[in-house]
Symmetry: C2
Subunit: 234 residues, 2 copies
């Protein structure tokens, strides 16, 4: 069956969350006279991401969108890094750094080529506002912003994949999941979606030692979105 839509993981696959946060934090630290390990700050924030979503997946609360999980995690993080006295407005601005993440160098050009032949939709755990604002910031040409919030389920729960395909009026097998993470692709394949692994070997910094290579048979394995576009004939 031919693929009609490409569904994209976003954090790490499309945008460089770690480099973007470090860069903004370094500038902010200098202007506030705060000297911290900002790479550890970025990594620490991200480390709280899966446990926070897990509490939602397990039904410990109703639906909580990622902006709100990020916000609660940020308050912990600021405490851990000994940063205090920020106004609610400053904290909110910091929290929205996730709306200002920068694309990898190939992302916009690659997506623009892919968009000619496929529907491009996000299948991220990021909430709609986060992904929409990020797209405005970075020029990401999505046809639709779908994923966890509109599905009411965080990946890798099957509903996130199946409802996103359903909103597009497509069978799972008509959708190709594009991600830099093996676990995401395994979950997508379990729902019947096609799979494309993108190598992003510095997503977690220079000492990353996981998700360096595809760990399963996928439909496509690509070095970046330009490579994927070429493999798909776009």
């Amino acid at each position: 069956m031919a693929f009609k839509a490409l569904l994209f993981d976003v954090f790490g696959t499309v945008v460089d969350w770690r480099g973007s946060i470090i860069a903004e934090a370094e500038g902010w630290g200098r202007s506030h006279g705060l000297d911290r390990d900002w790479a550890a700050f970025a990594d620490g924030w991200r480390a709280k991401y899966q446990p926070a979503m897990q509490r939602v997946r397990e039904g410990q609360s109703g639906w909580v969108k990622l902006d709100d999980l990020h916000h609660a995690n940020l308050l912990e993080l600021l405490d851990e890094f000994g940063i205090s006295g920020l106004s609610e407005q400053e904290i909110d601005h910091w929290n929205r750094v996730w709306h200002r993440l920068n694309p990898w160098p190939d992302s916009v050009a690659g997506l623009t080529r892919l968009k000619r032949d496929y529907i491009l939709a996000t299948l991220s755990n990021g909430n709609v506002a986060l992904i929409v604002n990020m797209a405005k910031h970075g020029g990401l040409p999505w046809d639709a912003v779908l994923g966890a919030e509109v599905a009411g389920h965080y990946k890798p729960q099957p509903e996130a994949y199946l409802k996103t395909a359903g909103f597009l009026g497509l069978a799972p097998g008509e959708c190709l999941m594009v991600a830099a993470h093996n676990a995401d692709l395994v979950a997508a394949a379990g729902c019947g979606l096609g799979t494309a692994f993108i190598r992003r070997p510095t997503e977690y910094g220079p000492s990353q030692d996981f998700d360096m290579e595809p760990e399963n048979e996928y439909d496509y394995v690509a070095d970046d979105f330009l490579d994927l576009a070429s493999q798909l004939g776009c």
Copy 2:
């Protein structure tokens, strides 16, 4: 409060549903040797739209997306017009004419200007697949496809407006509803959204005698999207 997002009604406001359906039906009729009043066919299909949604609004069923309401209405319509013997595939292709509606002449150029300064989201009763495919067909540059299906409520129910604003992380007053229909704008204003009336005096054909002019005080009244862009300083 400054508007951050423009939320668009689509059928009639952005695309010419009537002209598009008539044009496709005339071609189809010629190639099938069928002579019918295709304007009446288009109008008859549209006339079944509100009653079908009303049954969903009243809770006579669970959620039914517009593609499925259109399909049921099409079966009635084909019977009324004495058209029989179509395959399920032909009927499905006909039903998807709503995915192939053409923009008004100003729509793409106007939206492209507006997109530089605002988030552009759909707030249509059309389901996500319908609006996404229509955007691919016509080159409509949406930032997000939201509205009835993701809200789980058909306009003019308040949830359709409020949940769409909520997905964008915006207060109702940060959103400007753009529509060619007074009733849509009245409902949006009742939810706290700003309002922009667009004149589309031939949406229902040459003898249209309603929604010709704004019937209330709106924030903006424009002749088309280029005029709206100019009024908004885009």
